[in-house]
Symmetry: C2
Subunit: 358 residues, 2 copies
């Protein structure tokens, strides 16, 4: 029986529609009997279907941040010009996921392993079958959304005209794998996790809290904490604080403790194994060499686990691409748009990319 978790509802995340893709076979051999993707669209598809933009989501995220922070009239992602499709990744808590699966064969600890490429194949099917979209003006995503963006550009080069992977790599690194593992182990080591068959995410509050604590170290930056930048960021209760430990508890811990442990674990497993070179027998240069999209590679300057150097190395292997480093003292969590200069840089780059003839 699905677990009732109010975090994964339209009331908390904003409206979305569920689209069924039917039976969906996964790369690693598992099957989702009826894959439902949670999708939010903005704007209108034009007659020749040339104005579609796809946005896949990141770890622990949903369509909501994109809707609130990145999309809007006058912005680069302008719903008055583009038809913008934000697709929640498989297992994220809104699309078919361990805690909401109607089919008992994939519920909770029985949820099958899902890879980045499974999401990309599902999104391609969704766009084609539901919206009749065969070609994308742009794929843009942050973090795991960047992993999916890279996979799109490599797997479906004819369908992606432009690509903008923000703060994420095409091939995951050992360091990033080890980091992600500490996040996952913080959850599974909680006795309340019960091997994935807990009765409520409230049983796993200690593990979710330690998970959040590691995020506070790797997701942000030493300057974020030292500068007191966070003093102006409201916590979940709407208040601000002068104490960094209070902010950590009231924002990062409080946020992750709302989430479903199995959702984080399954998506984390997927994150660890992101690798476009699976398309080319392990040859990263060959995989990136397939890309025909005009690509802006956009790491964040203070990112501690998708660092600029790793993203720049992949950009060098991508034909016709450009490196556009984004500024944020908030490190990887700069993705949340805490600082206006970051958002201005994203908009300027995406506007330039969208204006580039391809």
């Amino acid at each position: 029986m699905p677990i009732d978790n109010p975090f994964y509802t339209p009331e908390m995340q904003g409206p979305y529609e569920l689209h069924s893709l039917g039976r969906f076979e996964l790369e690693d051999g598992g099957v989702i009997p009826d894959l439902q993707l949670a999708v939010a669209t903005r704007g209108t598809l034009n007659a020749d279907k040339s104005n579609a933009i796809l946005i896949p989501t990141w770890f622990s995220g949903t369509h909501q941040t994109w809707d609130q922070v990145y999309i809007g009239p006058g912005r680069a992602l302008d719903p008055e010009k583009y038809f913008i499709v934000v697709v929640n990744q498989i297992g994220n808590g809104l699309s078919t996921s361990p805690h909401n699966a109607a089919d008992a064969s994939i519920a909770m600890s029985r949820f099958p392993d899902v890879r980045i490429a499974d999401d990309v194949r599902a999104q391609e099917q969704l766009l084609r079958e539901v919206f009749g979209i065969e070609r994308l003006a742009l794929v843009v995503g942050g973090s795991m959304g960047a992993q999916q963006t890279w996979e799109w550009a490599v797997r479906f080069p004819d369908k992606v005209l432009r690509a903008a992977p923000i703060a994420g790599t095409a091939q995951n690194t050992p360091h990033d794998f080890l980091f992600t593992q500490t996040l996952l182990d913080a959850i599974t080591s909680d006795p309340g996790f019960a091997g994935g068959d807990y009765a409520s995410n409230l049983d796993v509050q200690a593990g979710l809290g330690r998970h959040a604590d590691i995020w506070a170290v790797m997701g942000l930056s030493t300057e974020f904490w030292k500068s007191g930048f966070w003093k102006n960021i409201p916590m979940l209760n709407g208040e601000t604080t002068e104490e960094f430990e209070t902010f950590q508890a009231g924002f990062i811990r409080a946020l992750f403790q709302l989430m479903d442990p199995n959702a984080l674990l399954g998506v984390g497993w997927k994150w660890q194994r992101g690798d476009v070179a699976r398309n080319t027998g392990g040859d990263l240069a060959a995989a990136l060499g397939r890309i025909t999209a005009k690509t802006f590679v956009m790491p964040i300057d203070h990112d501690m686990f998708f660092p600029v150097a790793d993203c720049a190395a992949e950009q060098q292997l991508t034909p016709g691409s450009e490196l556009r480093v984004l500024p944020s003292i908030a490190g990887h969590f700069g993705l949340f748009g805490f600082n206006p200069d970051y958002l201005a840089a994203v908009d300027a780059n995406l506007a330039e990319l969208l204006a580039t003839p391809v």
Copy 2:
């Protein structure tokens, strides 16, 4: 009754002597009834006692790494020229510590809180009472040894002629505090920890393992893992490996799992609160302004938690100091001397510092 842990023996750590300082009152109100410091010396004190060098130790470390990696004939730390005193910090497993305390009132979970300044006061007493040393040609230490080096230079400016804090700050940052907390919580969340009154460190292997896993992320660097640098580093069994997860298990996990949980926790508590501004009512500039030692501030370029920027900011506040950035792809763990260019840079800087008239 003290726990028998073979890791904390001369057979494992190399020879040392225990010096008793008697009853030792701590800053935070606790008392160690008979404080024993584990001390290793190299070289000979000269007649006017002007050739003494003090080296305090880092988190989880002992005198051994200094002896094996940094000290030797022809090196900057040359025992043929200097009398070198390496003092194991209080609670590190060799000096009086939770697991080896003879006095039941401070054994295991009852061990009192110890601060960086307590170590520095104890070291000053040791040098004066045992060796008759009133002035140091150099204090040099890495990481928590750097914290103690800073405290020495601020607290006893007349006694420190030269100072070289490597990869450590004078005032700990919020980011570093949060990082350290994840290390400590990985241990205390293990049910085997039993509130600090476990029967053996073997009861806490899972927690020590997760502690080590976080070190693998923050202690090293993305380039260390990506480059395969570790393929040439022998694991504890003497073998090398091509698999990064095998290296992580066979080196970092295996090493930390030998250690005593309470030793790591007590020393970690101390690390989190390192702050020379406690000498000056919270005024960091005033504290660093006291320093009269010729000081080389030496962060490591890839260090993820004592980053160059934090060390450079303190160097700017230190009269007559210089910033000397050390190169190591191994990040903070560059301290172990994995790469020859790091060791060459340390030696060149220390030799120059020791040759500087003061």
